[in-house]
Symmetry: D2
Subunit: 361 residues, 4 copies
């Protein structure tokens, strides 16, 4: 992944700052003849967009995606043409006045300091380029990727841990994710988790979370060892999402405590000549290549550092100060991260599919 482009063959380049006129992306390398309209993008964008509940930022954006190129209707409905798909989303509710103070002081835990140190200049308004607003472009690209993958591949994620509140393994239900305002992969814990997150929100605080991701329908064989391993590509794509601090594949860190006997996923032939695994500690990937089992991964999101309690920090001019982050923020950024996680996974998978097809046919 190179600066602002990710993917090798299905290449997504994003651009735009939080408070500039617009954000967007260019999707290059998409196969042609895939039916695609703006209506295919919007449901996914709507899931990520702000303002949907009291648990997410109140910034008022319709996040309406416009396709500017790469799709053509030759009589049988709009389809991709194999040329770059440019997607643009206007910034409609950028309130630069909210952010005057952070032009001077660095918000702890944000990228203010590092952008300034690296580039010598930064668009501080709303976090500029490092704002999570950029992830709308990822979701739009992911929606294109889903169209390419087709319905046989399902990509589902959800919050499985909110602060110290965790779902048990058998409590996880990805069908529930978009049915509750917490993006939780559960329908039973919602009242308790809502009460908890309300307390965080009202305190002007924030909290971290863990998101689980499950992908089904990927055939055996995708992934490009040794350095384009499917798990390595997923790890990079997911770690590139704002606030993500950890990625696990399959048993992840728990595998450190497993014995070889327990960890190995045994195999038996099934009735139709297919391989049946006795377990899935590998998370659907061996040697960087998909096994045909579900691909399972978990990600840790840190709490946003945008909180109402003043924190000690320094200014661009080298002075100590205390900073209280005003403006509109999410008490738990992982929530709206869920559709972003799915989108990044979709892009990685299309890329792996195309690379596999290239080499193997």
């Amino acid at each position: 992944m190179s600066h602002n482009t990710f993917g090798h063959l299905f290449r997504v380049t994003t651009w735009g700052e939080s408070h500039g006129p617009a954000i967007g992306c260019v999707v290059d390398g998409c196969p042609p003849m895939i039916p695609l309209t703006e209506a295919d993008l919007q449901p996914w964008l709507d899931r990520r967009k702000p303002g949907g509940s009291r648990f997410v930022t109140q910034r008022n954006e319709s996040d309406t995606a416009r396709i500017l190129s790469g799709v053509f209707d030759d009589g049988a409905g709009p389809v991709t043409t194999g040329t770059p798909i440019a997607i643009e989303i206007q910034n409609e509710d950028a309130r630069s006045k909210d952010y005057g103070e952070i032009a001077r002081a660095y918000r702890p835990g944000h990228a203010d300091l590092t952008y300034q140190e690296k580039y010598g200049v930064r668009d501080h308004r709303g976090g500029g380029r490092s704002s999570a607003r950029e992830t709308a472009s990822r979701v739009a690209a992911g929606a294109v990727a889903r169209r390419v993958l087709g319905p046989d591949i399902t990509i589902r994620a959800g919050v499985v841990q909110l602060g110290a509140h965790r779902l048990g393994t058998d409590e996880v239900d990805f069908d529930a994710t978009y049915e509750n305002p917490l993006f939780a992969a559960s329908s039973t814990v919602i009242p308790a988790w809502e009460a908890y997150l309300d307390s965080v929100r009202k305190a002007g605080s924030s909290i971290g979370a863990v998101v689980a991701l499950e992908i089904t329908g990927v055939p055996a064989g995708w992934g490009s060892p040794l350095y384009g391993k499917l798990d390595a590509e997923l790890a990079a794509a997911l770690m590139s999402i704002n606030a993500v601090k950890g990625v696990e594949i399959g048993a992840g860190f728990a595998s450190a405590e497993l014995s070889g006997e327990d960890n190995a996923d045994e195999m038996r032939m099934g009735p139709d000549g297919e391989i049946i695994f006795g377990s899935n500690h590998a998370g659907g990937i061996l040697g960087g290549i998909s096994t045909g089992q579900p691909i399972t991964t978990r990600l840790a999101f840190k709490p946003t550092s945008s909180i109402l309690t003043p924190r000690r920090t320094v200014t661009r001019d080298g002075l100590d100060t205390d900073l209280r982050t005003k403006g509109r923020h999410d008490p738990c950024v992982a929530l709206r991260g869920v559709p972003v996680v799915e989108a990044m996974a979709a892009c990685v998978l299309v890329d792996a599919m195309l690379r596999h097809r290239a080499q193997i046919g």
Copy 2:
């Protein structure tokens, strides 16, 4: 990262199978005028090479690296010339007879199945391309990278958890790593851990582990947002190492339970105009760019699936069978993974340094 090449500007391409005539790598994009001889590579290779203790495979390899190009002595000693550095390591103790059975049956937890499914053919001897033997090439490349980085950047790793045995945070001492046969970042736990690993080894079993990595001396500003974030690049490079199933940056999964107040690393100006952080939950990276603090990461290694207890599996011909992995193996692959982790980190850092220099000057 693309198939068998990693890095954008400091590009490492590796080749070779476990039981072929040799393995090696080509390092391209190395800056010129860096003093480099084979003696600079060997100490790092010696740390990874097999046969050093009873806790690692007894395969007998000298792992002697030969530099075939890219270095020239113009009178002032051998230096890199800016052209590709080809490094070659002979395979001296490949015993293909040990591996006849796995030509037919897939070892559970190994890449036998997936390589066969993907490519329709695989070099099964000793795991072929998916063998950890390939990591010798990574270590050689990492040694070159260390020469480019120079002495001000330290890259140190060590085992901090062996099965269920964990070091406390304040027990970690990376100076101890190469002073004990367990590659443990501690000098106090060795007897207990040795006894434990002996029991695993004698049982013909294996166990997972966690390796911690700490990098100091990286200046603020390295990393290439948004998709070439330094943490994303590290995650991909580390996840590409055999048996790694999880990667954390900074507080990692623990950050899911932190509040914004606790997680934010507060700042104050130091006496010499430098920024002093009150903590390092970020692990030295914010917004994908280094902060100047130590970069800290942790990796989970799964146990090798090469164990003496027979496991249920299937053959290439679609028959059920039980397979007991004979041959020479490591009871804990994470141990020899430690120098590999350091090497990958070194390569990622040089790449980040060169990319930073390209864009910023």
Copy 3:
């Protein structure tokens, strides 16, 4: 160069079709702190834009470039921030009604056939993605590149051959290029060439041309052997321009008739310790690396196949037909190709500069 992105570190991704709502590009990897406004782009776009004289297409486009990201005014005027620069140009005069017939029949010499064969669908309106309209994006990106290169590097091109009419070597004057409607690198031949091109235009015909390009001020050392040679990169970038069928560096095809004695550019030390060359058959590049001499190249443009005389062709449905290209076209596409040639050269040079700086410092 990969699909619709060119450059390694200074990466330009273009998108858009001739008759879609807009075209544009994303410039990624640009160094920060470069002063840049839309006013820096417009003069170059104005040189390329249609409608400027009777010798170019009468399509009426203002080609107004809008910068949507990557530039920020922190008080000292707008500068690049190191993040992606998105540039957008509206299509204002797309007349799709002109192009109905070519939805069915393939224009000989155009990409209608090949896009349809490759993708199974194409946006036929005005040539869609293969239209020379896309080159406006290249010119915009080239204008950014010029800002990065600074004033010490001059990049100048001009028409040196129009059909059978050629300038002598000592007649070439790049200062004249934008002073005449033929983009000719000469002020003396204009009346004769205008009369000639008028006759071509009135006949509804078209003609090819040769454009020469001269770059001065490039220091010795740029270029990345062996496969990123500066001449190889230039050749690819220039050959990717619509209608270009040949590229020469330095003496080019004439060097086939030279002896080693005549071709070698002899050297002598100059009064200030600089190297003075006796000639420049190499065109400023040896072994893929700049010598410090002017970089000279020549490109052949074919005549556009959009002419009024009917040509024999076939339809998408496999029927013979005769096709007369109506609509608005250039009698010599090389003319407006001149600023495009300069822009591509500027992008290649910035990329080479950044790569050089990365490896050498």
Copy 4:
């Protein structure tokens, strides 16, 4: 193309200097299950290797290629495994003593000056990395590429102009190329051309040449517009060959003098539903995509600057001197360039095939 790697999906990385212990390449991304042995490489290497006649350098190299990885015999003969194919060729006749003088003085027309200026150091022995010896690696990679392409695609080149001696268009016969020591695409001109080149050789001089290349059997649809156009990729690959100074596709520079009526390749439906072109000025490529016609290109090679007549030059220490190139050289480097041209074309085509297959299926 990036430093020492070319290709996007079929990626060839070469390494090695003229007088180091060996040279070689790593071919990554090759499809699996392609039958391949060293015997498939050798005939192509033999065509390029020195010492075959009095018209080429008398350096004595067997150019024996050894495959070190990526090929495995699972019972049905050796096939590619989809993993990196490492190929190595020993340098057997490196006489470093011949080259002492050029350690100090820059040979005019060679890359001595530019490598020194760029890197601050160079392996001067025999030209080091910039020696044409590196092209043996290209030929080996090209031989692998030919196996992937299969027999339906023919790639043939030959010398069509030697100094001022040119073949007429209807005199070109690529079947003759390897039947004569001049690599001429003709059997009739050999005595005259031999006499001419003998005179050049005996004078210790050198001469340039033009090589033509014709590729048949490429289906319509290969090529990746806009910046990975098939002609742009070919131009870069061919321009990266030592001594090449110009590349034409189809009518090339002659198209500058053509009218639109003459240049357009008219089409008619053939008896079997195929498209029949009336001409091939496009050289088999329109809009960067193959048309299905033969792909035709021409390349200009400059004369080598290694000649016996002393030329004026400067030393590394900034002194004027006169230099007479001793050692073993080719009177016309284009001759042995012919198999290199074919090899580069083969690599470009496999890459285009894989990219096409990735996107289109």
